[in-house]
């Protein structure tokens, strides 16, 4: 019994020592591996199941044999199917799906046994879709007039397909659908620089290779910079009546390719009067036309009018003369009441309501002047003096409307 216990303890002790030993120094496998034979395809089609068949001598079952494949995107590791000393690596993963050169390393116990490389070509039997980039999407003649396109036909594994057949680009134009061919065909892509577009409008573009098409791309061509233009004036009557509206209207503003400039383009009208004062009015274009109204001045003057689109286009200048709107003023002064007869312009219409009437009363002896004003309504005005406001003496009265002065009438207070 004692012997049995002793034997059991001894066995446990040996096992413990062994396990502890393993813990502190991992078991080391040794090998004298010799690669006797290796067989693999050097050129593969992406997606095909791929085998690297090796015959390695000098290995036991406990030896770790691995295959590491490194391509553009990283490294993948594979374990072999073992039968006697045949080690076969079956590869069906990213390693044989990714186009390009791949290096492989066969290791035994993390030591290199053999290395090689193979090339994976794209699956040319089927084009999955065409990755296309078309740009710019918005054209401006003379600034960015043309679109370029890069198209990469890819297989189902996103490998670029070498273009060997006809590659077509299509575009809608004013003449209809055009078919063009890329001048440059690269190894894995086609690129094309489309003809410049000068006519305003929308264009559609797409690429086709074999049975696959790219997305349809819409390109908008805008008009180019506006050319210089002229404008016409209507409503002008030459009188500084402060009432009549003058209407400015530009010609249809276009670029050099006869494209109408975009709606909403800001157009300025600048007025410089005889005294050098500047007046501005701004408007925007609709269908290439810009229109603006401005009231005639209240004083006789000369206007020089010019129009422009900021730093892009301008018009030639127009000169406008404004004369006194009325010939004479008729009134009656009686018992300190002034009654102004209806005032007509030179063209025979009544002066606008609200036009200011200035009364100028001058003391004859000391030349002191008193002024007050009223407004016309229906062309007439009626005013009563408050004689208590003025010192006694001889006075003269003169009336002024729109810069025109009446004759002088003397009276006494």
């Amino acid at each position: 019994m004692i012997n049995k216990k002793a034997h059991l303890f001894y066995t446990l002790f040996v096992i413990s020592v062994y396990l502890l030993g393993c813990q502190s120094s991992p078991m080391k496998f040794t090998h004298t591996a010799i690669l006797r034979h290796i067989n693999y395809e050097k050129n593969l089609k992406a997606g095909d199941t791929f085998y690297i068949k090796t015959v390695i001598d000098g290995l036991s079952k406990s030896n770790t044999v691995q295959l590491h494949i490194r391509n553009s995107y990283g490294v993948e590791t594979f374990s072999p199917i073992i039968s006697k000393n045949n080690y076969v690596f079956k590869i069906y993963s990213q390693a044989n799906r990714r186009k390009g050169i791949a290096e492989f390393f066969i290791t035994v116990e993390n030591k290199l046994l053999h290395e090689g490389k193979f090339y994976v070509t794209e699956d040319t039997t089927r084009t999955n879709f065409i990755v296309s980039y078309v740009g710019p999407k918005f054209l401006i003649p003379n600034v960015i007039p043309a679109v370029s396109a890069l198209s990469i036909p890819v297989d189902s594994m996103d490998n670029a397909i070498s273009i060997k057949d006809t590659f077509d680009y299509y575009e809608t134009d004013t003449k209809g659908i055009l078919r063009t061919f890329p001048k440059q065909k690269k190894i894995g892509s086609a690129s094309y620089y489309f003809e410049p577009k000068y006519i305003k409008g929308n264009y559609m573009m797409s690429a086709q290779y074999r049975e696959s098409s790219s997305k349809l791309y819409a390109i908008h061509t805008s008009s180019d910079a506006a050319l210089n233009y002229e404008f016409i004036i209507s409503g002008y009557n030459g009188l500084a009546d402060g009432y009549q509206l003058i209407h400015f209207k530009t010609d249809q503003i276009v670029d050099k390719y006869a494209n109408i400039i975009p709606d909403g383009t800001l157009v300025n009208f600048t007025i410089i009067d005889r005294e050098g004062h500047h007046y501005f009015t701004k408007t925007t274009t609709i269908n290439g036309y810009a229109e603006a109204d401005i009231t005639q001045p209240e004083r006789p003057t000369v206007w020089r009018v010019v129009s422009n689109i900021d730093n892009i286009a301008t018009s030639s200048g127009v000169k406008l003369n404004f004369d006194y709107p009325i010939d004479s003023i008729h009134y009656e002064l009686k018992d300190y009441k002034v009654n102004i007869a209806p005032v007509y312009t030179k063209l025979g219409y009544l002066i606008a309501d609200g036009t200011q009437v200035n009364f100028i009363i001058t003391h004859t002896n000391n030349k002191k002047t008193y002024t007050f004003s009223s407004q016309l309504k229906n062309g007439i005005s009626y005013v009563v003096f408050n004689k208590d406001l003025y010192p006694k003496g001889d006075y003269s009265l003169q009336i002024e409307i729109l810069g025109v002065r009446s004759k002088v009438t003397n009276f006494k207070i």
Binding site: Q184, G188, S189
Partner: protein
């Protein structure tokens, strides 16, 4: 009495614990307050991209072969594109090293990004990692879109270095020339890779056809195991040099032309023919200090040339990372520094690293050896006329790279009597290459308190013995450590411990007072010309006895204090 003392102690303890609790509480409150007052950085609202590190800086060139393209990329555009493309490479290499996809999404568009993530997960599972870098890129644009949003180019002859690990050990290490087809697209202001196919690889061709200077005979050269200068044999009799007040990294910072002029003249007068100096990487890499330091280096070389002193320049001082990702940065460093000096015959040799074998302990050996191999290759292209060596810390490790260097350099700080055997072993491995003992010597630090105390007479004895051993072994090339004793040295050299620092400060032949130590007569052929008065110093000088006296007084004081305290305690107990 006892009770009152206990009460006082208790009070003091309570007060102390109150103060401690208050401090801890206040600290806690302040941390909470700090936490709630620090929010997210507002700039993070904008898209953030992980940027390339300064360490990754491969050489590159752009060519253009798309005659149809109306819009040609300008320099500003290409700079941005280059940065993003190289960032992509850097991220890819970093990811392969760490098996983490951090940063990849900034530079690769799906589906590439998704696939790379799968690879990384697989690598993590299988303990695979790849240390890789690319050293040069030659991009040829084949398509550039009119709106500058898409570009396609072939990156050809990309010189890549790869070391593939499974577990801790690498199973493959190689250089390759690879060609890539790349399509990049501008997304959110960033150029990202849409297509990335490695279309071919081939091993690099060793380009040995370097252009030699028209009169390369001005340079020191090695023929049949002997140094030659023009037609005469040249024996290296040199010294490691730092100015007395500015050793190590202070040398270039406080460079003084007058001091250098005087010191080089002194070295010349002493009959030596060469000096060894050091280039600290950081000071010669920083763009802010490079220009000044480079001018100083040029001045140093000019001063040496006037005195016919030849210079051995040790590169990469205080560099010790050896990461693969650093290689391009190291390459740019030597390109900037070595290339402009490649035709200067005053430079006897470039020593690419001081004691790299000491880093075998801190890094995997393959990190260090691969780095050395790379730098050796690059140095050959930048300085074809000048000799190249590596300053190993001992004769045994100098057996590394004996085929890669022009002559062997090793340091020897062991016993003189062991020299001959070690030297003979090394010499037998490389009979056709001269061996230079690039550093050797002993200190003369005489201390009462610290271990390893020596005198100038010990130093003299050492130099006498070692030079006898040199003679016996027919070893003719030496560079002693060092010209001066230093008043102070930076902590980076041997750490902060005073006994280490003091020893390192006293390795020189000229002490802090300008006296020439007797050991110099074995090194300097014209020793007598430079000695003004003979130095007479013993181990047991006045300072030594004064120190001992003070030390004894201190011990007596401590003993008396002990007695006094015991007496008071006895009184209190009564």
């Amino acid at each position: 009495m006892n009770q009152s003392i206990n009460r006082s102690i208790l009070k003091a303890l309570i007060f102390a614990s109150f103060v401690l609790c208050s401090v801890v509480l206040l600290y806690g409150i302040s941390r909470v307050f700090y936490y709630f007052n620090t929010g997210a950085d507002r700039s993070t609202m904008l898209p953030q991209f992980s940027e390339i590190k300064d360490v990754y800086n491969p050489s590159y060139s752009w060519n253009y072969s798309d005659p149809e393209c109306e819009k040609k990329p300008d320099t500003i555009f290409l700079n941005k594109l280059t940065r993003d493309y190289l960032n992509a490479f850097y991220s890819f290499n970093s990811s392969q090293r760490t098996s983490k996809s951090i940063g990849l999404k900034d530079y690769f568009i799906d589906p590439i990004y998704g696939k790379m993530e799968q690879y990384l997960a697989d690598n993590k599972k299988n303990k695979i990692r790849v240390e890789s870098t690319s050293l040069s890129h030659h991009m040829n644009i084949t398509y550039f879109s009119n709106d500058a949003q898409v570009i396609r180019f072939i990156d050809s002859n990309v010189l890549e270095y790869n070391r593939i690990y499974r577990g801790e050990k690498p199973f493959s290490e190689k250089y390759n020339w690879s060609n890539y087809e790349v399509v990049m697209k501008l997304e959110n202001g960033k150029w990202k890779i849409r297509q990335f196919d490695k279309i071919s690889i081939q091993p690099p061709i060793n380009n040995t056809s370097v252009t030699l200077a028209t009169d390369s005979t001005d340079f020191i050269r090695v023929e049949n195991g002997t140094f030659y200068l023009k037609d005469k044999e040249f024996q290296v009799k040199g010294i490691n040099y730092y100015p007395q007040n500015f050793p190590w990294n202070r040398f270039w910072k406080y460079y003084d032309e007058k001091i250098i002029k005087d010191d080089i003249a002194l070295i010349k007068k002493s009959g030596l023919n060469s000096v060894r100096i050091f280039i600290p990487l950081q000071q010669f890499d920083d763009p802010k200090t490079f220009d000044d330091n480079f001018l100083h280096l040029q001045h140093f070389l000019k001063t040496c040339a006037k005195n016919e002193i030849y210079v051995m320049i040790t590169l990469f001082d205080f560099y010790s990372t050896y990461q693969t990702m650093d290689w391009t940065f190291c390459d740019r460093h030597i390109e900037k520094l070595v290339k402009p000096l490649a035709n200067d015959p005053t430079i006897m040799a470039w020593d690419i690293k001081n004691e790299p074998d000491l880093d075998f302990k801190n890094h995997p050996k393959e990190y260090v050896t691969s780095w050395i191999n790379f730098i050796l290759t690059q140095m050959r292209t930048y300085a074809p006329n000048q000799l190249i060596t590596i300053g190993w810390s001992n004769l045994k490790d100098a057996e590394n790279f004996i085929n890669g260097v022009d002559f062997i350099s090793a340091h020897y700080y062991l016993l003189p009597e062991d020299f001959a055997k070690q030297y003979a072993t090394l010499k037998s491995l490389t009979p056709n290459k001269p061996i230079v003992i690039q550093e050797y010597g002993t200190h003369s630090y005489n201390s009462l308190y610290f271990p390893d105390s020596r005198t100038i007479w010990d130093q003299e004895a050492y130099y006498k013995s070692i030079h006898e051993e040199f003679k016996k072994a027919s070893m003719n090339h030496y560079m002693a450590w060092t010209l001066y004793d230093f008043k102070s040295i930076p902590n980076e050299v041997v750490g902060k411990l005073p006994w280490r620092k003091k020893i390192q400060q006293n390795f020189g032949f000229i002490d802090k007072n300008g006296n020439v130590k007797p050991a110099f007569k074995y090194v300097a052929p014209n020793y007598d010309k430079i000695v003004k008065k003979k130095i007479n110093r013993d181990r047991y000088n006045l300072f030594y006895f004064m120190s001992l006296f003070v030390f004894l007084i201190l011990i007596i004081f401590v003993i008396l204090l002990g007695f006094y305290v015991a007496k008071i305690k006895a009184k209190v107990n009564q």
